[in-house]
Amino acid sequence: MEVTFKIWRQDGSEDKGALQSYEVDGLSEDMSFLEALDHLNEQLVLKGEEVIAFEYDCREGICGQCGVFINGRAHGPHDNMTTCQLHMRSFENGSTIVVEPWRAASFPVIKDLIIDRSAFDRIIEHGAYISAKTGTAPEANAIPIPKPVADAAMDAAACIGCGACVATCKNSSAALFTAAKINHLNKLPQGKAEQHRRVIGMTDQMKEEGFGSCTFTGACEVECPEGISITNIAEMNFRFIKAKIFG
């Protein structure tokens, strides 16, 4: 299999950057997309060129470190999938594949396809926890949690923090990411004590980081590898108003 990659190359955050073309052959349909980039990098090394910097770690769709814009879609042409789960069988032989880094003011490019997502960590820092020290927990079954509540919390908690929601959003809104975490913790009885602080703290930080506001295009839930529903954002809005009134 043979394709042409057009890949964003940018040597550091100060560099302007541009798309560069690479014709790559010797690929197979069973290769993952990232393996195809590995293959390209090996060829670049043999030619004495610097490799393309791109992110990955677990390569099984759970760590959230990989993620690039492929042919105009976050994580590539399929819905609800990470970049590492994408395989070359999803592309036509001979096709051109445009690869760009996530674009958002809050996610500056570090090099080539690698961006800085530390803004997410700082949102987490501002309340995405239950303040209980190690050793202070009551017996696990002491507070029953109905299955539907536990399941709904799990649905929201599944977020892998990849940033596809921000990348695909025309406003670079981090609403889905922030909402998922808020709703996960605020639904659980253990999270109630700090519920209002959490909502205000995390949403304030979301603003501080320069993310845009949500206009409900719905693109985020389509690109989210965990399929986290956009209703989470509505729920966050509800919790926000509630926190402003009662918090």
Binding site: G72, T168, K170, S172, A219, F240
Partner: protein, 222 residues
């Protein structure tokens, strides 16, 4: 209390938007009078206009309406500016159509078209009747200002009719997305409720767009 602009602006936008949605229902109901036989329509339409002009409550509501439009526009602009700052660099290739509707991606553009319409619309009616600009309207048999005649004569011009009708398409798109989005912005998150809301939005938007869009045509051919 500190204000988080991400939420505050959207809340204003949603609040004013939903208020305008209610207004449109009233407006369309009134427009339906135009479909009646001419004499009856003239009398009722002009009487209705007079009631509106004379009621102090309606007056207050009217100011609320003007403010709503104004705030809706201002906050939409603020939100758009803020959001553009959040995404300063665009993608070379972007297939947004595969993950979202064109409408949801272009509410600003659609909104601008509607704003343009509103300006023309107000110039045609509101400026003439309330501000007395242009040729002054006549008086009907009951002694009311003949608003009906103003409307009727305007819709004898095919270009106006087409302008009015065509711009009801962006109105429908705007309402369909805006109604859903407005409710979600205000924190409505019930899953089944949202499914129903999506249907209601579609039906509402269709009725408004078709209703407002078809009346000028009917009047034209009357």
């Amino acid at each position: 209390m500190r204000i988080n602009p991400l939420f505050f602006r959207k809340t204003i936008l949603a609040g004013t938007g939903l208020f305008l949605c209610i207004f449109l229902i009233v407006h369309l109901s009134a427009n339906c009078i135009l479909l009646l036989p001419e004499d009856m329509a003239r009398e009722m339409y002009n009487a209705y206009s007079k009631t509106l002009r004379d009621s102090p409550i309606i007056k207050a509501v009217a100011y609320l309406l003007y403010l709503s439009i104004l705030f809706h526009v201002i906050y939409a602009i603020l939100i758009t500016i803020g959001n553009r700052k959040s995404k300063p660099q665009k993608y070379e290739v972007n297939n947004a159509r595969e993950n979202s509707t064109w409408t949801s991606q272009n509410m600003g553009l659609i909104g601008t078209m509607i704003l343009l319409f509103i300006i023309v619309h107000l110039a045609n009616f509101w400026a003439r009747i309330k501000l007395g600009m242009g040729e002054s309207p006549g008086i009907d048999a009951m002694g009311n200002i003949d608003v009906y005649q103003v409307t009727y004569s305007l819709f004898q011009n095919i270009y106006y009719v087409i302008f009015y009708t065509v711009l009801m398409i962006p109105l429908g798109l705007h309402l369909n997305h805006g109604l859903k989005s407005g409710f979600m912005t205000l924190g409505f998150y019930h899953k089944n409720g949202l499914r129903t809301l999506a249907k209601v939005s579609l039906i509402y938007a269709a009725i408004m767009a078709i209703g407002f869009g078809i009346i000028p045509f009917i009047v034209y051919f009357k």
